[in-house]
Structure formats: structure tokens, C-alpha cells
């Protein structure tokens, strides 16, 4: 299945992209995707404990399962205002 990964702020710098489409196996979780990304982008490991996730524009947990055409956003703790 296909998912779209979006990255923001410092995570965008670490991954080197702000949006990317990935082809992944069915029944994949957020943590599985992060593990896949860590293989290509080791810098992601250094901030693993500080990551937040959103599935289709809603905050989600790291054990959330993704579905075909989902958008997974990965970002650090927010600092707006």
C-alpha cells in the first residue's frame, strides 16, 4: 500500500524532505514506518523520544496502524504562539 509521509521543523532537516510517498506492506504501524526511516536517516534515532505523530491530520500514538493512502506526519513538540 502507499502512504504519504510529511515532516516538519527539525525533522524536515533530518530527513531532507518535507513530503514523500512510500510503498509499504499492509498492516504497518507508525513505529514500523519510523524504524524504516531510521535505516535511511540514522539522525532520526537521536530524536526518537521527542517525536510526535499525526495520522490524516489528527494526533496519533506510535502504535497506530496505518491504512492505504494515509498521511503520516512526523514532527517535534510544537512551539507556536
Amino acid at each position: 500500500m502507499k502512504i504519504r509521509v510529511k515532516a516538519f521543523a527539525s525533522i524536515k532537516d533530518i530527513l531532507g524532505f518535507d513530503e514523500k510517498e512510500l510503498t509499504v506492506s499492509d498492516s504497518i504501524s507508525v513505529s514500523d514506518v519510523v524504524a524504516l526511516l531510521e535505516k535511511c536517516y540514522p539522525g532520526l534515532k537521536t530524536v526518537q523520544d521527542a517525536l510526535l505523530y499525526a495520522r490524516n491530520e489528527e494526533y496519533c500514538r506510535v502504535d497506530t496502524e496505518l491504512a492505504d493512502e494515509d498521511t503520516l506526519a512526523i514532527f517535534p513538540h510544537v512551539s507556536g504562539g
Binding site: Y59, V78, S79
Partner: protein
């Protein structure tokens, strides 16, 4: 009136302020967040805000809905900038109105605190010798 806006252009505080309130409202409270020239002991030259547009609108709308459920408000307007901000420019504007002042003070405080914790927006500070993403409290 209930509205959430994100915009790249400068926030016209006077324009937004005069949209608030009705004859039933005895109080209007506005909060303006501004780009500060110091971060700790480092001089800041300018800021850049990154934003997850759709999710930020949804999350701020949810915060406004929560405030309007919790307090009796006549109007509620939230405007947040993104992109590059010069020092002194307004980064966020919150305006609320209510029959009595307590609701306006409490709700505006609630809204800015929740935005800082939940809205997917990130600030990057630029100094003369580099830059740094600011991460909020966990």
C-alpha cells in the same frame, strides 16, 4: 463570530480587533504575541514559523470550540502567522468578547496556552551566527 485564520502576511491587529464584540458584550480582551529580539542571552535577528496548515486550522478550531463551550463568549478570533517574521511583528492574535470580563480573560489565556501545546506550528530563531528550531514543552 468564531474564526481561525492562518496567514503569511502581517497581522493587522487594529483591523481584527474592531471585528470583535457586539452590544451584548461588556468585555473585549485581545492577546498579541510578538517576535522577541532576545532568546535567553542570544540576540535574535528574525523568526521563521513552519506550520502544518490543515491540521493547525483543525486543532485551533477545536481549541476555540472548547473555549466557547466552557465560557459564554460573544466572539472569538484567532490569527496565526507563518513564514518569516521580523522582530516586533505579531506572530499570533487572539481576540474574545463576552458579557463580563472574567470569561474573556480566562478564555483568552486558555486559548493561547492550548495553542502553544497543541497547534502544529514550530518556531525557528535566526541569530547572526546560526539558527535553531525551538521545541515546546513536553
Amino acid at each position: 463570530m468564531k474564526k481561525v485564520i492562518i496567514q503569511q502576511e502581517a497581522i493587522d491587529v487594529a483591523k481584527y480587533s474592531c471585528q470583535l464584540g457586539s452590544d451584548a458584550d461588556g468585555a473585549v480582551v485581545t492577546f498579541t504575541g510578538r517576535a522577541r529580539n532576545m532568546s535567553g542571552d542570544k540576540a535574535v535577528e528574525y523568526l521563521v514559523y513552519d506550520i502544518y496548515n490543515g491540521m493547525a486550522i483543525n486543532e485551533m478550531q477545536r481549541i476555540v470550540d472548547e473555549a466557547m463551550e466552557r465560557w459564554r463568549l460573544g466572539s472569538c478570533l484567532v490569527v496565526h502567522r507563518y513564514g518569516k517574521l521580523a522582530i516586533g511583528e505579531t506572530s499570533v492574535f487572539i481576540g474574545v468578547s463576552s458579557p463580563h470580563r472574567e470569561e474573556s480573560f480566562a478564555s483568552s489565556r486558555y486559548i493561547i496556552d492550548e495553542i502553544k501545546h497543541r497547534a502544529p506550528i514550530w518556531k525557528k530563531e535566526y541569530y547572526s551566527d546560526g539558527s535553531r528550531w525551538i521545541e515546546g514543552q513536553r
